[in-house]
């Protein structure tokens, strides 16, 4: 039997098999942590290759009774997820070596697969399954080190997560009831707008479900605690990976299935985006735990990214007045592309930042600091761990949107799209917010570079360093040569918003 036409999905397949394999091997041979790590790294690289092999896929190809679609958008997200988990795995190589490492890596891979499924699913069922796969594995990961903080984080994450997924499921059920199908395209063609309140309820339940992953205020409550409490590398995975899964799902469902309710979710996201970026930045100002600062910062970033929804909702159907490099691009497309670029950028920056914290934590916890993430441990980091400090510096400036970095370019396109579609108030708010965000980014920076060192020079574990440097290079590269990425994002956006 010939599976060759499943080629676009070999990436997922490979990772699934690998995950199972790792579990088996792990149960057979003892403390083979390193091997597992290298295996999964290799697997991820391979998957990346497979996904990349048909990156610029022209028209969507559908699988499994039209429940899975492989298209530019899905590939975009898959690359993001794969890159993130690859970086996390590389970093983990110097942390999870001993007993239980196999489970760790297996869970990581399962989570990745789940996200990839979500990225390309165009049916509520597959979407829900993928969503849960990712969630469940990350619940487990959040508690992985079984410290008090881990468990508290995991507990909150789990309760909140399952509640919101229940909301999502209920919303799905209503959608199914109204449209009579679970296929996004069918739902889109069904006249669910006529159901009035029911449709609105369904919409908001679905949004609640996604917003939990995206960590939009007020569905963000779990995020700061979880990001602070979970093992740092897992936080990286959560902030950079599964958060983006929320966006992937939301793009699919809202922009395909629920376009009829555009005005409703336009308003909803306008409110959410505004509150989210403001609250996130404000709350970050007073934190002393670096990972908590980063958590709030990633909430704020989610707020920026959510501008993409607002722009699309506002400007959907507006004819393009601009030809970029010959190709006409509508405001909606530009907004979506901007959101995608910022997703890409943020995924990298946040992974890097959290890996940085992980490294610092691993270094200082040897001389048992009571809270390894406390900002006081970052004092004079530049002389204690120069490479980490420099990379962190880049990430901080990137998160603050200082050129020339990925963060800057993402914001640049996204905010400009806001102007393009006439959402000046939102652009101004976002600008003010990114100015406000400097308060805490500069605080971290001034701790790392301007304060006197808190201790002697420290040895920087290889794995972390490699991951950090790779991430830094990527962040700067996107900032300096955004051309290809912009085109790619536009192409991905065109999948949902064809001209």
């Amino acid at each position: 039997m010939d599976f060759s036409h499943y080629a676009p999905l070999w990436g997922e397949a490979l990772l699934t098999v690998l995950a199972v394999l790792i579990v088996l091997l792990g149960s057979l041979m003892k403390n083979s942590g390193k091997l597992m790590g290298y295996l999964s790294a290799a697997g991820l690289i391979a998957a990346l290759g497979l996904v990349g092999s048909n990156l610029m896929i022209a028209k969507p190809t559908l699988f499994f009774f039209d429940t899975i679609s492989v298209d530019a958008l899905s590939q975009f997200f898959k690359v993001v997820f794969l890159v993130v988990s690859l970086l996390v795995v590389i970093a983990s190589l110097s942390k999870y070596t001993g007993k239980g490492a196999d489970e760790y890596f297996a869970l990581l891979l399962f989570a990745t697969v789940g996200m990839m499924v979500v990225a390309s699913s165009i049916d509520l069922i597959t979407l829900f399954v993928g969503f849960e796969l990712a969630s469940l594995s990350t619940y487990a990961l959040a508690a992985f080190d079984k410290s008090r903080k881990n468990l508290e984080a995991a507990m909150k994450y789990f309760i909140f997560g399952s509640v919101s997924s229940a909301f999502m499921l209920f919303g799905f059920s209503l959608l199914y009831g109204m449209a009579g199908s679970t296929k996004l395209t069918v739902i889109a063609s069904a006249t669910i707008a006529n159901f009035g309140p029911a449709a609105l309820i369904a919409l908001l339940f679905v949004i609640a479900g996604f917003a939990f992953k995206m960590a939009l205020v007020p569905f963000h409550m779990w995020a700061p605690d979880t990001y602070e409490g979970a093992p740092p590398l897992v936080s990286a995975m959560l902030a950079a990976g599964s958060k983006k899964m929320g966006f992937a799902a939301a793009f699919r469902v809202l922009l395909v299935a629920l376009m009829a309710l555009r005005m409703e979710w336009y308003l909803a996201f306008a409110i959410l985006a505004a509150i989210t970026m403001t609250l996130g930045n404000l709350a970050a100002c007073w934190q002393n735990n670096v990972r908590r600062i980063l958590a709030y910062s990633s909430i704020a970033q989610a707020g920026y990214i959510a501008i993409g929804f607002v722009v699309v909702g506002k400007a959907y159907g507006l004819a393009p007045t601009t030809a970029f490099n010959g190709i006409p691009i509508s405001p909606a497309q530009l907004g979506l592309a901007g959101a995608l670029l910022l997703i890409l950028g943020h995924a990298l920056m946040k992974t890097g930042a959290f890996i940085g914290t992980a490294q610092v934590a691993s270094m200082v916890s040897k001389n048992d600091a009571n809270d390894p993430d406390d900002i006081s441990n970052y004092a004079g980091l530049v002389s204690r761990a120069p490479v980490t400090a420099l990379c962190m510096l880049i990430f901080m400036f990137a998160l603050a949107g200082i050129p020339p970095t990925a963060g800057y370019f993402g914001k640049f396109v996204l905010f400009s799209s806001a102007i393009y579609s006439g959402l000046v108030w939102l652009a101004v708010l976002a600008i003010l917010n990114s100015a406000l965000s400097l308060v805490y980014y500069l605080r971290i920076i001034s701790y790392m570079f301007l304060k006197e060192p808190a201790g002697p020079k420290m040895a920087e574990p290889k794995g972390y360093v490699v991951a950090l440097v790779l991430t830094t290079i990527a962040v700067l590269y996107i900032g300096l040569f955004p051309q290809a990425f912009f085109d790619w994002a536009v192409q991905a956006a065109a999948v949902l918003l064809p001209q």
Binding site: M155, K156, I159, F160, V163, S164, F167, P197, L200, I201, L204, F205, I207, A208, F212, V217, P218, F219, M221, W222, P224, D225, M263, E264, Y266, L267, A268, I271, L279, L282, A283, C285, W286, Q287, L436
Partner: protein, 676 residues
């Protein structure tokens, strides 16, 4: 051929300046001889140029500078006499200084600064455009600042230097405003300039005066007058000059008596056509001058510091010159000749007086006349040279001062006849006081018995020789040069395309038009030599005999009065009748009309500095304050916001539910009101 080297007149002193500055400390006497040589070379060149130019040639060289300005050299009679005077007097003073400053640790610095001053002063004189003149004008001010503050370790010296700079700066601001105004007026005429012509060049200015609106002319004139007032220490900007005596005496002689302070007068003379054309221009000049002449003289009566007496007398004499120029409203360009003549003469005898006082101070080691007395017994040369100077200053017949000062009084009378007698009255009174305070000084210093013990010896010959030379000029210059000088100066504006009749009409001298009509001085191109002399002879009979002899009476009477008070041989009255601080009036004089209290203590320190402090408060509390206030607000708000995160998972769920509910409500309402 000398003309081709005119630039060296400034160039050599600059060279001397650089040499003294960098290697002076290694040279004998701080390299003073360099300065002397440079200046002397200037004198020689000037003489050469004079020989070439006399009687009726002028030199004008010019090259472009930046934007639409140029640098250039303009040597006409007016500039030439100044050049000769300055180079001559300054050479002597530098020579004297070689003795006077000998042994001072900073002597090389002194000679460097002195050389720089010389350069600047000469550059000021033969600048061919107003901007260049202004630049050297400021440089002269800088040198004055440096030299007054030469003994910078003395706080009083540093303070005096600052005061001098700032006070003159006030004048310079007006000057600059005048220039800006003039430039823009000329620019708005869209004059088609020939190659080598630039807007601010004097010939160009003279030529286009008639096209500038009279009101503007008056403003410009007042601006320039402001500059002159500042530099020449006229009321109310004279306050710096007495304090300037903190500097070495040679500096006082060179800058604050003979040369720099005359720059203001020179400026007015240089721009005479403009002042003439400007309604009320010359009237203002006359008023300022006459008032200052008297005002300063009164203060000269009571000062005890010998140099301050001379300083006040300088201010007063500069007032005479200004007034002389002012009378031009009545007598036309002739006034320039008269004023300049007094300027030159004054520079001789005032330099002489200062150097003599310096020689005295050198011996007595104090400026206070109350500690001197009887010095004459030990310093014959000094005494007699100073006597000559004093007689000249007092206007004793046949001395230079007699011809120059009294000529001013005479034309002031004509001015009175034509327009207003006030200046005349003021000047006559000032003349009386001049004679009195001069001889008060002379008697107190040289006669009577020693009031303190001081080094009883004559100064070295290197100091005496300049005194003698100056004394000769202080006596003889008047007789020798008067007639020729007037005619030469009168020819000055004849070299330019300037029509005094039209200017007179613009300037509102139409009243005197009838009177001026006959006067060649006021005619265009009154260039032939002797014209002025004719004007003189014509002007003479205008006065009755008593006006002619009045000055003589004034001088003699003044000297007599002084002797009755201060010459122990014929002493009749006690000086304390007029001096001392018993009653307000005498106190007022002693304190110099409280000008220091008003200008420095009240205006500068209270008003200006106070408002500065207020600005500072505003800046901190308001302009910067709102920022800190805002950030405090935001941060405080943030402090509350983060409290929302209660840490209890149940509350999180509540937030989730509430979020959904609120969104539902908001969106439904939005739909109701048709927002979406």
């Amino acid at each position: 051929m000398y003309a081709d080297y005119a630039y060296l007149i400034v160039g050599l002193p600059v060279l001397a300046f650089l040499l003294c500055l960098f290697v002076g400390s290694r040279l004998p006497r701080g390299g003073g001889f360099l300065t002397v040589l440079a200046t002397f070379a200037g004198l020689v060149l000037s003489l050469g140029i004079f020989s070439e130019m006399y009687p009726d040639k002028i030199i004008h060289q010019s090259m472009p500078w930046f934007a639409n300005f140029n640098v250039g050299i303009l040597i006409d009679p007016l500039a030439l006499v100044m050049l000769l005077m300055v180079t001559f007097v300054v050479t002597l003073i530098h020579t004297y200084a070689n003795g006077y400053m000998n042994g001072d640790p900073g002597s090389s610095r002194y000679f460097a600064e002195a050389a720089l001053f010389t350069a600047a002063m000469l550059g000021l004189i033969y600048a061919d455009n107003l901007l260049q003149l202004f630049i050297f004008w400021e440089l002269v001010g800088l040198c004055s600042y440096l030299l007054i503050g030469f003994w910078y370790r003395k706080p009083s010296a540093a303070a005096a230097a600052k005061k001098a700079f700032l006070t003159t700066r006030v004048g310079d601001v007006l000057f600059m405003a005048g220039i800006i105004l003039l430039y823009n007026n000329l620019a708005s005429l869209n004059i088609a300039l020939k190659p080598g012509e630039y807007l601010l060049q004097f010939p160009v200015i003279y030529a286009h005066l008639t096209q500038i609106p009279p009101a503007q002319l008056t403003l410009i004139a007042l601006g320039l007058l402001g500059g002159a007032v500042g530099k020449s220490g006229q009321f109310p900007l004279h306050v710096w000059l007495p304090d300037a005596m903190e500097g070495p005496t040679t500096v006082s002689a060179m800058i604050h008596a003979a040369t720099m302070v005359t720059a203001g007068v020179y400026l007015v003379a240089r721009m005479f056509p403009l002042f003439y054309a400007a309604p009320y221009g010359l009237t203002a000049v006359a008023a300022v001058g006459a008032f200052t002449a008297l005002f300063a003289a009164t203060m000269g009566l009571t000062a005890f510091d010998i140099k301050r007496v001379l300083a006040f007398s300088t201010v007063s004499q500069l007032g005479f010159m200004m007034a002389g120029l002012g009378t031009g409203a009545a007598v036309g360009t002739m006034a320039v000749g008269v004023a300049m003549f007094h300027l030159i003469g004054h520079s001789f005898f005032k330099a002489l007086l200062f150097l003599c006082s310096g020689s005295v101070i050198h011996a007595v080691n104090t400026n206070d006349m109350r500690e001197m007395g009887g010095v004459g017994k030990y310093m014959k040369w000094t005494m007699y040279t100073m006597l000559i100077g004093s007689l000249s200053l007092a206007g004793f017949p046949l001395f230079t001062g007699f011809f120059s000062k009294d000529e001013i009084i005479v034309i002031a009378y004509e001015y009175g006849v034509a327009i207003n007698f006030l200046p005349y009255i003021f000047l006559v009174l000032a003349a009386v006081l001049t004679a009195i305070y001069t001889f008060r000084m002379w008697f107190t210093v040289f006669t009577g018995k020693e009031r303190s013990d001081y080094a009883k010896h004559e100064s070295p010959s290197i100091m005496i020789i300049p005194l003698v030379i100056l004394a000769i000029f202080a006596f003889g210059f008047g007789i020798a040069a008067q007639g020729g000088f007037y005619s030469y100066l009168d020819s000055n504006f004849g070299h330019y395309d300037v029509n005094f009749n039209e200017l007179a009409v613009i300037g509102g001298h139409a009243a005197e038009e009838t009177k001026l009509a006959g006067e060649p001085a006021a005619e265009p191109l009154a260039s032939e030599a002797g014209e002025g002399a004719k004007a003189e002879s014509k002007a003479e009979p205008a006065e009755p005999w008593y006006i002619q002899i009045l000055p003589i009476i004034v001088a003699l009477g003044g000297i007599l009065t002084a002797s009755l008070f201060y010459w122990d041989k014929v002493k009749k009255f006690d000086p304390s009748l007029v001096t001392g601080d018993k009653d307000p009036l005498r106190k007022l004089l002693l304190k110099g009309y409280y000008q220091h209290e008003i200008m420095t203590a009240w205006f500068a320190e209270t008003i200006v500095y106070g408002s500065a402090l207020i600005c500072n408060v505003i800046d901190i509390k308001l302009v910067d304050g709102w920022l800190n206030w805002l950030s405090a607000l935001v941060m405080g708000f943030a402090q509350h916001v983060r409290k929302v995160q209660s840490g209890v998972v149940q509350n999180y769920i509540t937030a989730l539910v509430l979020g959904v509910v609120v969104l539902v409500v908001v969106i439904t309402m939005a739909k109701e009101v048709g927002l979406i």
